[in-house]
Symmetry: C2
Subunit: 146 residues, 2 copies
């Protein structure tokens, strides 16, 4: 039997809100948490998931969310240390198997690796994309020059 | 005859510095511009390119940089409007053919498209990466369950 996937997003900044909107469109079971109610304004009017105004660095918030071992937890507040702290609590106190966290500073990557937390690093993704774009441009100017 | 590729990066934040370090390692001709000298501390000690402390929204700075039509201009300050303004001046006053700009707010994408500026949007790249990671995790738990 497949239970419905339970996705929890911590942090309703641009990335958190975009993800929540996307999962809601895909009709997944999604909850987004932010300490500031006005952050939820970034959600689309069609957003059909849940919101919770609470501080996720507080363990009682994590209890309230009812994290399960099979919850997909995505931690994308705008602070690397906050993300590490929440991810760690989820792993160790609630035994959440899959935690993805945003990482601003690529130099923190080793900390996450040790803690077995998957990371999304926008800077590294952007560097790769700039390289890809430059290579594509070079190729298309070579074609024009032929 | 191939002239050496001329790369100019505006904004020495995390992304700008990472790109500058990378292009310097690749022995490309690179110049990075930032209004604050202390931003250059993010460059690696091995960085072999040039730095310029100047306000790139000032047209005299763009003249000083000696932008050429074939300059690869990468505009990655931490402000979308500043990036649009600089990219536009480079296109219209200096006829730079290839301008890549970072875009924080995906809703600004249409403005860039109209101006024929290529964009790197970390939020959209991150959304795609989260989706890829979740799909990969789902696949590997299915394999384990077999």
């Amino acid at each position: 039997m497949m239970e419905k996937q339970h996705i929890v997003i911590i942090g309703c900044g641009r990335l958190g809100a975009q993800l929540a909107n996307l999962f809601s469109e895909q009709r997944k079971d999604v909850l987004i948490v932010d300490a500031q109610a006005q952050s939820f304004r970034k959600l689309s009017p069609a957003y059909g998931g849940l919101t919770l105004e609470a501080d996720a660095t507080d363990v009682s918030t994590l209890k309230e969310i009812a994290l399960r071992e099979d919850t997909q937890l995505i931690v994308v507040t705008n602070n690397d240390n906050t993300n590490i702290m929440i991810a760690q609590m989820a792993k160790h106190l609630f035994h959440v198997r899959q935690v993805i966290a945003r990482l601003y500073d690529p130099e923190h990557a080793c900390v996450y690796e040790e803690l077995d937390i998957q990371t999304i690093c926008p800077v590294l993704l952007s560097v790769a994309e700039v390289e890809r774009t430059l290579a594509m441009n070079a190729k298309s100017s070579n074609i024009k020059a032929l």
